[in-house]
């Protein structure tokens, strides 16, 4: 019975669903994740066969060959059995071959390089403790945290890090790949046939806020993508209050870029109000069915960044000398800085 429990558990879990559509490996939303899922299914099936055999023999042996009071004679001492041993050497070999062939095929398919593919959209992913920078060299656009892609296009990634090793993972679209420092950059590609927002995560321990280093992949129609590109290139929306604008320029734009202004050290903030989250971990209720309004999130973040994301590199605005009113003003500006696409 104990051995049946895991099987029952499997089935009950399958019935309960296999996780979120935008997050689960078991609900692939793109061809790359689908290919990997097929391989997972194949390997699970082979391995279930193995498990069933081993469990069945175990159960039989455990029940049948218990020691009983009438056992006074010693059992026959069997040295081995050549035939049996050949069988349980050859059958696993065959099973391994069945798995090895599609594995090798997939390995090479996944290894295809689309770096020079004119039809693919090139994206340079630059990972930082604890945020993601996405650069589109073909369009001269840089953004952060939300990766916007058009549906049905090959997205060719080049992954690098500017500090420690991270790992770029969008479970429902593709498996992960590490972001290494210069010299060992990685390339791969995926595509998303359906419109939607997919959750991405950092999968390599990278410091205290490793668990909060999330990002989103937003797949939009090709038309929307064009609109978004244009919106990203528009100049920065000005802050009406002159004093606040000055503070923003002196304190924020020294690290952040917004539109055509600022410096690209921290995350690019163009259109940050229309993103899925603030600081990747405070979900915005405007686009998610959970979380808080973007303005509230923005205030929470700016008032104490370390509380939201321990160990992050952004100086606390309070330490920079900003007053509560200034922080709220900037939060309001950023929360309302939305892109239409």
């Amino acid at each position: 019975m104990k051995r049946l429990l895991p099987m029952l558990a499997i089935f009950s879990l399958f019935l309960a669903g296999c996780g979120r559509e935008d997050l689960s490996v078991l609900r692939p939303q793109g061809p790359v994740a689908q290919g990997q899922y097929d391989l997972i299914k194949l390997s699970i099936s082979i391995m279930l066969v193995v498990l069933v055999i081993v469990f069945a023999i175990s159960a039989y042996v455990i029940i049948k060959f218990r020691r009983r009071p009438e056992h006074t004679e010693m059992p026959e001492q069997v040295e081995g059995n050549f035939k049996l041993e050949v069988i349980w050497t050859v059958i696993p070999l065959i099973l391994v071959l069945v798995l090895a062939v599609p594995t090798v095929k997939e390995v090479f398919a996944f290894g295809e390089d689309h770096a020079n593919d004119k039809n693919a959209i090139q994206v340079k992913v630059n990972a930082h403790q604890y945020w993601w920078e996405f650069e589109y060299p073909q369009f001269g656009i840089t953004t952060a945290q939300d990766l916007i892609i058009p549906t049905n296009k090959k997205i060719a990634f080049e992954l690098k890090t500017s500090d420690v090793i991270h790992s770029f993972w969008v479970p429902s679209l593709s498996g992960k790949l590490d972001t290494n420092p210069d010299g060992t950059l990685n390339r791969f590609s995926f595509s998303a046939p359906k419109e939607g927002v997919y959750r991405g995560k950092c999968a390599e321990l990278c410091g205290p806020s490793h668990g909060f280093m999330e990002f989103k992949v937003k797949s939009v129609s090709p038309e929307s993508f064009e609109t978004w590109k244009a919106a990203m290139k528009a100049p920065m929306v000005a802050i009406e209050d002159k004093a606040l604008a000055e503070t923003f320029k002196n304190q924020c734009l020294t690290c952040h870029a917004v539109g055509d202004q600022g410096t690209a050290v921290g995350p690019n903030l163009t259109g940050v109000g229309s993103r899925e989250s603030v600081a990747s971990i405070l979900l915005n209720s405007e686009t998610n069915d959970e979380g808080n309004p973007v303005l509230e999130n923005m205030k929470e973040w700016l008032h104490d960044p370390q509380l939201v994301k321990p160990g992050n590199k952004m100086p606390s605005p309070k330490d920079l000398g900003l007053t509560d009113a200034e922080i709220d003003g900037i939060a309001e500006y950023l929360a309302n800085y939305k892109l239409e696409y």
Partner: protein, 630 residues
């Protein structure tokens, strides 16, 4: 003539500090391994408590990272491996009919360096923060730039010192098994546990130098400002990953092979049948060890090694399933046709088979590189390696401890408590780790200190935490059982299981200092069983009764290890600015480090200059034989 010089015999604490007796060193290993195992277990409970619900703020992120790092490092290097060494020390000389290991002095040195390395590593908790870069300590996260506390220094220096002990132990067992087998015990008559330990020791010999080199390089990077893993200085962080896993993967087999050996002893004893396919078991063990060195890059599929490397390492990894499968079926067919008795030792051994198989099949799934892109660094992997290490290794150890406890301590563990241990631990184990497969597949990456709600992770994490507590209860039952066993008098039979097959069951429990009054003559595999089947009650001796030469107890290994410990601390803090100028002076001018090295090398000099001839036990001093079964 035999008493040419007398030897000082110590009592109490001094006896334990100076002992070179393999049986006492085994107990020392067991005690310290058990202590570290408890620390690692406590860390695990804290980790699971933090993950019991989403967005839990019980622990800080930094503390959580220190806990996961120390949990992994402690369990592998300081918890499980020493308990393996405890069993190897306690049993191997007895199984091969020897009076001690080949190098008793080295044996003691190996233990003390391990213990001081372990203590050094754990001192980090009270000396400015534990290591926080994961047990794998990937660079650049483990560099001084991203891990500025001394935590990782404790890791590199502590593990180098402890690793020294492991390497010494491995060498010692190789030499012991090669040179000290009783007359008639050819390689192919060695008990399976001895075989497994032999192969394990060979693996230690090749694997531990790799990690030592890696740790030395990382120490140089951190303490002396070298650039082995620093890209800006021309180094390469991927190099660390290779070095680590060239050690790290064989290490997994160093852990599991002795468990295979234990299972191969326990099952035949309680099934009353010889091990099915002994020679194929031996070759499967060797093959696993060999392949174990060929698969390290499967931990690095997502590092970006390119399709050719990924394909090759996928296939080599899958191949390990073949010898492992051979073992599984051989154990099952050992029971087939036998008369299987289910006491605690055998419950753990039989429970090992399906549990370990579950860990094995997920291992094959992970071997498929494209699928691993999804599995890697998620809870699926966490589930997999806990199935192998806990469901395999720890089940094996608990089986072995229940099985050999009477031999080590002369007392049998209580069966009722033992069964409670098994059922709570086994059920708790499956509760904790089975659900984690699904957590991983549903998108939960590993080593996260908390997680957002509404991702479908909440229930399973709760189940997992409850399971962890149940495992803790199992270990508490085991501890109570141990305490209770020491409340009874010593003096169980030589062969308390009545079906013992190997030489350790022919001598008293616990054995006298010299183990065998007369070295036995071995006439086949399962030497004792063979004699019993021929109607004999004891082994035929291979030598006449005579004085027995024994090694002298010595404090030198202890002092030598203290020296290394001090030198390690001196090295780590050589660049530290202390508030006290005296402290800064002695550390920054390498005085502390030098002092430690002086102690160590001075001890070595002492050992070399003064000959130790050992001493003899005369036949009239032999202990009264304990009463025998049958």
């Amino acid at each position: 003539m035999a008493h040419a010089h007398s030897v000082k015999r110590y009592k109490g604490l001094m006896d334990w500090l100076t002992t070179v007796d393999h049986k006492k060193i085994a107990i020392l290993y067991l005690l310290s391994g058990g202590l570290f195992f408890a620390i690692g277990g406590f860390e695990a409970i804290l980790i699971r408590l933090q993950l019991i619900k989403p967005m839990n703020d019980m622990l800080e992120a930094q503390t959580f990272n220190e806990l996961i790092t120390m949990h992994g490092t402690t369990m592998i290097f300081l918890g499980v491996m020493p308990i393996v060494f405890a069993l190897m020390n306690a049993i191997i000389p007895l199984q091969i009919g020897a009076r001690d290991v080949a190098f008793p002095f080295l044996n003691s040195l190996g233990f003390w360096t391990f213990l001081f390395g372990g203590i050094l590593l754990n001192l980090s908790w009270v000396m400015g923060g534990a290591p926080d870069a994961g047990w794998t300590s990937y660079t650049p996260l483990s560099s001084t730039m991203y891990s500025p506390s001394h935590g990782v220094d404790f890791y590199t220096v502590g593990l180098q010192i402890a690793g020294l002990g492991t390497l010494i132990g491995g060498l010692n067992f190789l030499a012991t098994i090669i040179t000290m087998r009783a007359p008639g015990m050819s390689y192919m008559r060695m008990p399976m546990f001895t075989w497994a330990s032999f192969v394990t020791s060979a693996m230690i010999l090749f694997a531990f130098p790799a990690i030592t080199v890696g740790l030395v390089l990382l120490t140089f990077d951190r303490v002396l400002g070298a650039n082995f893993f620093n890209v800006d200085g021309g180094g390469n962080p991927v190099l660390w990953q290779h070095i680590f896993w060239i050690f790290g993967h064989p290490e997994v087999y160093i852990l599991i092979l002795p468990a295979f050996g234990i299972i191969s002893e326990v099952i035949p004893t309680f099934a009353r049948k010889r091990l099915f396919g002994y020679s194929s078991m031996v070759f499967a063990t060797i093959l696993i060890a060999f392949l174990g060195f060929m698969v390290w890059a499967h931990h690095m599929f997502t590092t970006g090694l390119g399709p050719v490397a990924n394909a090759l390492f996928s296939i080599s990894t899958m191949l390990i399933a073949v010898p492992t499968g051979i073992k599984i079926f051989n154990w099952l067919f050992t029971m087939w046709g036998g008369q299987v008795k289910f006491n605690t030792a055998n419950l753990f051994a039989v429970g090992f088979i399906p549990t370990f198989t579950m860990g094995g099949v997920t291992g094959v799934m992970l071997a498929s590189a494209p699928a691993d892109f999804q599995f890697h660094d998620t809870y699926f992997v966490v589930a997999h390696f806990h199935y192998v290490i806990v469901g395999g290794m720890v089940f094996g150890l608990l089986s072995g401890l229940h099985y050999w406890w009477p031999k080590m301590f002369g007392r049998v563990l209580n069966e009722t408590l033992g069964k409670w241990t098994f059922w709570t631990f086994a059920i708790g184990f499956h509760m904790t780790f089975f659900v984690q497969h699904f957590l991983g597949l549903m998108g939960m990456q590993r080593r996260v200190f908390t997680y957002l709600p509404n991702q479908g992770f909440d229930t399973m994490n709760l189940v997992s935490t409850v399971g962890a507590f149940l495992m803790g209860v199992g270990i508490i039952f085991f501890t109570i059982n141990i305490i209770k066993s020491f409340m009874q008098p010593k003096g169980c039979a030589n062969d308390p299981w009545e079906d013992g097959r190997t030489l350790e069951w022919t001598i008293p429990s616990p054995p006298p200092e010299y183990n065998f009054k007369q070295i036995p003559l071995v006439r086949g595999l399962d030497a004792y069983w063979k004699e019993k089947a021929a109607g004999n009650t004891e082994m035929t001796p291979a030598e006449p009764i005579g004085p027995i030469h024994m090694p002298s107890p010595t404090i030198i290994p202890f002092v030598m290890s203290v020296g290394i410990f001090i030198a390690g601390l001196g090295l780590m803090f050589s660049g530290e600015e202390f508030s006290s100028s005296f402290m800064s002076f002695i550390f920054n001018n390498w005085i502390v480090c030098g002092l430690g090295l002086l102690i160590t090398f001075g001890s070595m000099l002492m050992r070399s200059l003064f000959d130790d001839h050992g001493w003899h036990i005369e036949p009239e001093e032999f202990e009264e034989e304990g009463y025998k079964h049958g």
